[in-house]
Structure formats: structure tokens, C-alpha cells
Symmetry: D2
């Protein structure tokens, strides 16, 4: 399996399945001499952690990260940072209900087809549990990037949509509610709706909006590695993501060029920001903002009909503790992936000029 | 500048600026022994060519590709395929109107900031002219993939939207109108609208829908190189693209899991296809379909105010021959990038099993 | 720090310093469905282990590998194999003798210059301890490659040289003596010589010869990734290596073409093998054989003069338990790196033809 | 075919066969703003050119490089530098003597086995003609590196060996004789010997010594991409190379650690330089020096017996114009590859520290 590495210079490689002994990763390329706040890393992990509120999965996973290398006397040494999160929750259970049957819209069927067999205990490598490693690396990337500020929040759950422009929102309220929506009223409506969906044994999709502020001018590598292309890939690599748009996005297609163009101020900033902080694939110093669409979680706690390995129709039922809506816990993952993208481009940009 | 390479095994590297002597590329990794139909390659290039209809730029660029290596006696040899498209249109012109001023929502400003200076004759490396090299490589990728069928068409121009599900469209009509929209009535409305926009000296955005059929099961490399993530990056790397969604996309966030899940048929196909042919980042054999949002072209043939290198406000006016709407000519580019993604994953998939 | 990854498809990334909590790695790309003999992996690790005989370092490191992922029910799953070797020997010690002074011909000085500071407890990332991770991955590569047989042995220690052609040696005797030299008489002389060197508090260099048998025809990727170029890099990346030659090597420069050329047998094999199993960078099915030169270990247990961080001359003395001669323990490392090279090329070769 | 790319940031990709329309490449990553002396590039190409003296092949190939992109107003723009060298010598000839038979110690057999067929007109992709592209890129790398000085010279032809330490040689004499040996007397002997070998229709091997001076401290990326490992791979990727050693090399294995270690001066330089300018894979600022062994060219102008595709024994005879000894023309190639290695590490080193 290729595809376990993200980034060219600031580079994360991850390992681990949902029900194995540990997940973890190796982060290469973080420059030497960065004082690391390891508690800040753990804080981001805690924001992704199961069991943190009533509207997320009630699984118990403390998700404590252990660092093995690359840090000495509180600072990065320039050598690879190896880390692991041990699975404390690992026990032999009865997997017979999923071992031989394929859950609809999960990766069970395609893994079996691709690799010939699979670790059938949960999602294996396709489980969102893998994203915990990304949060660890992303938290380090944030510290490397210093002034650059990464904010993500839930802007839609089902049909409940927060339409306020991000500039008018108070980001300090994001972590004050379990949905991570910076509008208390909408947050409450979303929370209630998720609880209702959960009670039905069902799940619901949502949208996360990301905002990156204080971005240096000049990040992004045309032509294939445009900043927004790398950002899009980063987001689309998160479990359950179905779409990505930045700046004016899908709604921008209805604008004329004369309306969509962002006129310059004399300092090189722009009066409007339909570009979303990126022009020609390169950051222009304005805020980068984007939306990420998440489908509803595939595991529903209802009975359903599906097939087994031999193609026989079987009756089964979802069980266990699952997220009724994935977006609240995905907020730190969106931030982490955004930070990994920018950290990599920040290092690449060191090669721009003589 | 990093970022000129696309793919891991089936790998394209491109070079060239809009006003240089030539653009071109090197395609590595195409297996040996593929009989190449070079006329089919040129046909795809012709679909991207300027001057092909009244609603695209009237520049004259024949865009004839010359192959330098990697092909012998009509077949690929397994060695890298070097090719170039010489610029026949290259002449010394008066660039004074753009040399020192920054066109809004172009890459002029960011290139100058990133690299210290730039080739100011047109868009340089940020010009969409570079995509001709992608079309060449993509046309070879299509031939490598054989049965896999790539179709792209214009599904929206401004607010004019084709809402018919792709399954109900007659793809054979796509190339029968200059817009490349497989619904004659909508195509005519779009064409008229683009002509109107052009007359205003303005531009308009649009959406291209892509459909990939006869996809083998098992393509895509979790976790970071999920099939749809690579596809999204490929599309977002095309000039003017602002968004990407696949399967149920942004509208899927409003569905419940019980509605969104795709139940299996006994042969492993699914009854519905909200997944868009990809589950867990791996193709499941169903059609892959996706939407790509293009912003309006930034060059408007109207007077406007902008700044020069020193930050002075200057009055200028767009001139030359530009596309009023980019989507008709971008259709073969979308196909090409999709084919490059699948060709790479097809080669990577050869390593799946013992 | 870049450079922690080896391979393109069969790909190892390692982490860890000599005195950190753990070293380890992530092995990607091993195809799914390979039954893994984990005891064979541990056996190779044991051959590299300190303390295994009187002529190697007497440090106590059991070097037990723990696998975290990628293996299920005894077989590889196709997902990345994460593993770690915990340092059981980690304790706070007095490092004052090396903290501020630079040991000659060690990496202390260059690490400080490159990164600004370093983990001064032992060699840090430049320690040969890192190679244990390579042995783990190489042992898996051997199993992946099945019939291909990797043999390495000590062919020279100081001026004591085994001149017998490898074809006339009995490889089964390699592991019967602590030097790993397949000639009992020479082995005894080498062993005695190493003991004498050790008694002097000094160290001595040596040569390891590698032989790869049953190699499939067609491995190696011209032009930059020729089989022998990748093999050479693999060997030169091992600590203390100063030279690499394959086939006729340095002595081949004295031959005429008419003498050096290897005439064909009618089955495509060759009557002689000056080519060393590689022609034009591609394996031809004959044995691959090569020599790897190792310098004497830099840590001598004698007093010497050196400088500290401020450039002051200081008197110091090597202490601790170090190898008087590195080659006996490097034998499994040479095999491991050779196996990693061939495993990667074996996967790449799956893309050769349509 | 993978393997056509060299470098991570300062990155060259080449294309082209010996008898195709053109060879060439794309050089990515050269920072913007480097004033390029294109005549200096052509001068290095001329040093590699056939027909330059009586002891090299008498083929006529002017080898004029055309640059297509990445350079504007005399300076690099930061965008990829595309270039091509057109084959002026291309004509339809009679290849029947090599079409179906396999020349011993050439790549004919392995290419046919690997790819199923090959471009049988000369060496195809395995021809040393490909190295012209490396010389172009290497010449740019030299200019990028400024003060770093690359020198290569012939130090051995057959058994004729120049034993003088490089420090005692006058490098200004290298280009004053056709052998490129900086000792007039030895050069004359080598020249005479090569002429004699040529008259016999035979070929002979040789050694090139490379010296890199004014190297910044801190280049090289442990652990797998040690400076000398990358350098070794670079050299071993040149056609006909059989071995590489640096610093004390193979002779260093006979030294004791107390003799081999390089004591520090108080400024961080070392009193001796057995390390060859590299410690722990990182440059220490001392001269880097190394030897590269070249086998005799396989094409001998004598009759010989070989096999054809069907395994039948056939009588044939080498013809055409070939080098009796490859080393004089390989001198600029060795320099070029060394420069590519250092340019890449120079860019990577920009990421070392915060």
C-alpha cells in the first residue's frame, strides 16, 4: 500500500489499524531548534478524542501520544520525530457480525477485493482512528508556523447552515459548544438535531469551514502542487469527505470576471477576497478560507440487508459506539491537515530565490 | 519551483511558459508495448486548441505535438516519452501595459513576490497554455487504460445549469456543439449567454462534470492518496478551478446515513451510487462522477484600476484575445487529468498482492 | 532532516537515536498476503545484536522488535508495517566527556554545525543503532523475495584478505565463527587480529562481500536508478562505509574489452560474469556480487586531543563498549540493504510491460 | 521505466535514446534570479562531445543545446528549465547486424527481457548519449553553487596509474591534453596506450578522480541520503561505472582507527582528511575527493560469437565509431553529477534550522 506519506519536506508517514496494538507516525523535516509544547499537541488530540461529549461516539480512548525520537531538551533536533498512540482498548471481541459480511458504503468490500483479505476487526486501516496521527503532526506543524493561525469550525449539519461570513463570527466561541460552531444559536440547533439523529440510530453529514490567517505571501508550488490543490487533496484524504471548495468556490461560477476579480490596494492586499487567499496556486497574503463537505457516517445502528463474501444476501445490524455526526470531532483534523500543507510549502519556499 | 511533476509511476513532468519557445513534457512509466495512436493524441489537443469556435479565444495556435523519444515502430518502449509543442505564435510585442502592473486575480503579483521577478509576457508559467502538455500525456494514459472510459462535459455556465443526471444524457452529443454540453437546448442557451458576455468584454464561470466508466475495482492508495483525493488535486491543479466534489458531494451532507448508504447487489455492485464509485478511497467498480467549478477568467476586456510594482495606482485595460468562458476548452483537460490519475493508480495496484 | 526513507514502492522510513526511548520504522508497500516468519526477522536482528561474541561491543541490548500494524493472522495485509525496538538500556549517565567536545571522525561537529545543536548522548541519529530498523525491514524483504538468496560475509579485516572466489567458498560456514568469514583458517586469523586490536584500544577496518543469487532478469530502472547504483547507495548509506564495487569492480579497469566482455551461452546466461549480474543497470539473471569497504570505527579507547564547541583544545579519552571492528555485525545489515533494493525493484518491475 | 529523475529539489528528469530525434531534460528547482552563462553550459557539453580528439569516438555530433523555458532576460525564473539536444546525425542505416543479436556485456539482452522489445538502433536509452543532458544540468548546478569548485581528471587508464596525491597536481593542465590527466608525462603514456588499444580494435578501462572544493559545512541528509551515498549513486549511474570510493576508500580498511581518524584544528578543519570531506554523511567543509572506476567499453571492433533472439549462435563483428577508452569524455559527466548532488543538498540544507 502506497499512500501513507503526506508532504515533500515537512513529511508525515503514518501506520496503524483501528484494532491493532498502536497507531503512530514519523514526522520528518521539522527544522531543528523548534521549542515544542507537547501539551499543546495533546490538547489537539483531546479535541479529536472519542467520548468528549454527548454527541460523539462514547468509545473510551485516551489517545495519549508517546514521542520516541527527534526531541531533545524540549526542542526538535532536526531528526525524524517518531511517535505512537497505543490502543488501550484492544480486546478480543466477537467480530462475527462483520467478519464475513460487507457493510454498505464502508471500505470492507474494496479492501477485500484489492488485497485479497483484510483485518476485519473494525475499519482496519480505513478507520478514522488513523487521523489521530495527523493531529499529532499537525499540532507540531502549527508550532513550526508560528504566527500563521488555523481555525476550523462546523458551518453546516444536515440542512442547518450557518450563513454568516466568517469575518463576522467570534472564533473564541468555537470550543464553547460540543458541535464546534461559532454561533451559539445555530450550535444549539445543530446539537439538538444530532441528538435526534442519534436517537434514530441514524447519522448525518455536515460541512467544516477552515480559515488560515497571517499567511506569508508566496506559498504554493505551481503547476501541479498549487496551494489550493494540495489543500484540497489534504482535506479529501480525511475520512468521509466528499467535496472541497475555496474562496468563492462553487458559487463563484455564477459571477462575471468583472465581479469576481479582487482589486488591489496599494500595499498589495486586495479589497475583496474571492480568490480565497490564493492566486495562480500561490498564497497572496490574504486569508485562505475553504469548505469541506462530510457525508453521513456509514455505520447506522439499524437493521439492514447486505451481502457476504460469497455474495449471499445477509441480514445484519450496526452495533457499537459510533459518531452520529462526524464533523465536531473532525474540526481539529481539518486544522491539522491545513497546517501540514502550509508547513511543507513554507519549507519548499525557502528554495524560491538565490 | 517544485510542483511540475504529477504521478508516482505513470508520471508527467512539464515545462514551458506561455510566451517561450516551446512547452512540453516527459511522460515516464508508461509500460512497454502499448501501440500508440498518435492521431488520437492530436485530436485531444485539437479539442483544447484556441480558435476552434466563436466562443473561445481567437488566438491562432496550431499546437502540434512533436514526440522525441520513448516510441519505436509505433509502440511505447518503456523509456520516457519526451515531447514538445513549439510556440509558432512567438513574436516580440508590446508588453508595456502588463510589464509593470499587476492584473487583479492573476498570478502576476504573487510570482513577483515569490521569485523576485517574472516572465511578464502573458501569464508565463501560470498560463493555461501549460495544460496542453497534460492533454498529450492524458491522451496516452487513456490508451494505456484501454476499456476505462473518460467523459467530461459542461454542466453549468453562470447560472445556466444542466440538472439532468448524467445517466440520462447522450454523451455522443457533447462534441456536436461548441460549449460541449450534452443537452442541445441548454447548450444553445449557454452558447448565446457566452456570446453576450463576450460582447460585454466580460467573462463567466462554469462547471464541468466528469464521468469515468468501466473502472477496475481496487484503484486508489489509502490513506493520503485516496482515489478521490488524487482526483481532486488533479482537478484543482487546473487553472481557474475553485472547487471539486464527487458522488453525492456537497449535497450529500444533507442526507442521513440510512439514505446515503449504497446497498449491495449480490455481485458486489451497488443499487445506488452516492459513493461516486469510491469507498474508503478505493474504486468499487461503479461509475466515478464528479463536478469541477471554474471561476470566470480574470482577463476582462474592460478598463480597470490596479497597482504597479511600486504600489502606484494605474489605469489599464485588458486587451488581446481571451476566452470569455474557460469551460468548453477545459473539457479535454479534465479528461486528461482524470486519465493520468487512474493510469498511475492502475500501475500502483500491480503491487497490491503477492 | 530529509533522508530517512529508502525505496520507492517497497519503502522503509526509520526514526530513532541511539539514546532515545525507541528506534523503529514504517515499512510500506509490502504486498498483501505474505505469510511472515517473525522469528526469522528476530534471528537477523540477533545477528546484528551487540554482545553476541567476544570480538564485538559488549553492550547489552536485546533488540526485541515489536510490530504494531500491517500484519493480521500471520500475513501481511498490504497496510504499512509499523515497528519499534525499545531501548532497554536507557539510563541517565555522565555524558560530560562528550557533551561539549567533538570526537574526531564522528558526526558530532557536523551535526552541531548543520542543526545548531544535537542529542549529545552517544551518536544520536548518526549511531549505527539505527541500522537495526533496516535489518527488520530487510528480513521482511527477503521473505517477500522468496527464492532470491542473499549472502554476505567478511572477506577482509585490515590487511588479512580472503582471496578465494566466492563460488569456491562454503557459505554454510559463515555463521560458524564470530567473524562471519567462510574460510575457517582466515576466520581464525581475523578473530585473533581483532582481539589484538581490541587489546590495544584501537579499531580496524574491513570488507564485506555480498552475493545475491537466483535473481530474476529485468530488475533495475535505468538511467539514474540502475540496479548497481541503488545497491551502491544502499551500501554507502551504512555507517562507516567508504567504498563499493560490483562485478569486476576497480580491478576491471585494467582489463581490455575483449577480456572483460561476458560471452553468452545459448540460454542467455553468460560464460563469465565480469558484469556482476548487471548490464546497463538491469539484472541479467547471473549472480550479483559486490564488495563494501568499511573504515575502522572512530571510537578508540585511547587518550587523544580534540576541540570543544568554542574551539578550545581539550584532552579526552574514548570510553564505553565499542566494536573493535565493525564488519562482523555489519554482515546482516549488508544483506538487509541488498534485500530492500531488490524488493523495491521487484515491485517496480511489475510495471514494465502492458 | 522509472529512474529518469535525479534529485529531490534540484531535480533533473531526462528523456531520449541514442538514435531518436532528440534527447533532453527538464531541470526543476533552480532558484530564481541566477544569471546563467549559457556559453559555459555549451563549453561543458563540448568537453563531452564525440570527435574532440584522436582518442575518442570520431562520430560527428555537435550537441548544441536549445533551451525552451525557465530563463528570461538572462536569468533563471524559478520555473522548470526545459531543454533539448537534437540529433543531427539521425539517418536510416543498416542495423541488421545488431537488430536480432545480443552484443555481449551490452544492455540489448536485458532490455529485450525487461520490456519485451527495444529500440535496436544503437544503445537506445542505455547509450551514454543520455549523459549529455546531465552535463547541461550539471553546468547549471555549478553556476548555482558559485564558489564550490568541481574538478575531475583521469587518474588511471588500464594499469597506468597516477599516484600523486591530488593536492600536488596542477589542475590547470587537465584540459591541456586529450586524456584529461593533470600530469603531462602520465598523460602522454596514457594517450599512447589508448591509441595502441584502438589500433587493436579493443578498449580499455580507467579511473576518474573527482575533487570538490570550497564545500559548505552541513550538506548531506542522514541516514539514507548521506552525502557520499548520493554521490556514489550519482557516479554509479554513469554508464560503464563499476566502483566508487571516497576519502580513504578501499585502502582505508587497512588502517587502524587511531591512524584513520582526522584530528581537529581549532577552527573545525581537520589536520588530515581520510574522511574525504564527509563525516556521518554530512560535509565538514574539507575537500571531498573520490575515485570512480570505469570498465572497458563493451563494443570491440573485432569478430566475436554471440547469440540471437532465438538463442542461436551467430558470428558478428563490432563496427562503427566507438570510444577505445571512455574516461576522457566522462570527466565532465563526473563533474556534472557531482554538481547535481551538491546543488540538491544545498537546497535541502535550507530547511535545517528554524
Amino acid at each position: 500500500m502506497a499512500g501513507n506519506t503526506f508532504g515533500t519536506l515537512f513529511k508525515l508517514t503514518t501506520f496503524g489499524e483501528s484494532h491493532g496494538k498502536a497507531i503512530g507516525g514519523i514526522l520528518e523535516g521539522c527544522p531543528a531548534g523548534l521549542p515544542l509544547d507537547l501539551e499543546a499537541v495533546q490538547r489537539d488530540l483531546d479535541r479529536r478524542r472519542p467520548g468528549q461529549s454527548a454527541i460523539v461516539t462514547q468509545r473510551k480512548e485516551p489517545d495519549t501520544v508517546a514521542f520516541y525520537s527527534g526531541i531533545f531538551e524540549g526542542k526538535t533536533t532536526g531528526t525524524p520525530i517518531g511517535f505512537a498512540i497505543h490502543n488501550t482498548n484492544q480486546k478480543s471481541k466477537d467480530y462475527s457480525h462483520i467478519k464475513d459480511s460487507y457493510r454498505p458504503s464502508h471500505a470492507d468490500y474494496v479492501y477485500d477485493q484489492k488485497y485479497g483479505f483484510r483485518d476485519y476487526r473494525g475499519g482496519g486501516r480505513s478507520s478514522a482512528r488513523e487521523t489521530a496521527s495527523r493531529v499529532v503532526a499537525g499540532a507540531i506543524a502549527k508550532q513550526f508556523l508560528g504566527e500563521v493561525k488555523f481555525t476550523a469550525f462546523v458551518s453546516q449539519v444536515g440542512a442547518l447552515k450557518l450563513d454568516t461570513p466568517y469575518q463576522e463570527l467570534d472564533f473564541s466561541t468555537i470550543e464553547t459548544n460540543p458541535v464546534r460552531c461559532p454561533d451559539p444559536k445555530t450550535a444549539k440547533a445543530m446539537e439538538d438535531y444530532i441528538k435526534k439523529i442519534k436517537k434514530e440510530g441514524d447519522t448525518i453529514g455536515g460541512v467544516i469551514t477552515g480559515v488560515i490567517q497571517n499567511v506569508p505571501v508566496g506559498l504554493g508550488e505551481p503547476v501541479f502542487d498549487k496551494l489550493h490543490a494540495a489543500l484540497g487533496k489534504a482535506m479529501l484524504s480525511i475520512n468521509a469527505v466528499k467535496g472541497f471548495e475555496y474562496g468563492s468556490g462553487f458559487s463563484g461560477v455564477q459571477l462575471k470576471g468583472s465581479e469576481h476579480n479582487d482589486p488591489f490596494n496599494t500595499d498589495g492586499t486586495t479589497k475583496t477576497n474571492n480568490s480565497g487567499g490564493v492566486q495562480g496556486g500561490i498564497s497572496n497574503g490574504m486569508d485562505i478560507y475553504f469548505n469541506v463537505a462530510f457525508k453521513p457516517v456509514a455505520t447506522v445502528l439499524q437493521g439492514y440487508e447486505t451481502i457476504d463474501k460469497e455474495g449471499n444476501v445477509v441480514q445484519t445490524k450496526g452495533k457499537g459506539r459510533h459518531d452520529p455526526c462526524v464533523v465536531p470531532r473532525a474540526v481539529p483534523i481539518v486544522e491539522a491537515m491545513a497546517a501540514l500543507v502550509l508547513a511543507d510549502f513554507a519549507l519548499l519556499a525557502r528554495g524560491n530565490k538565490m
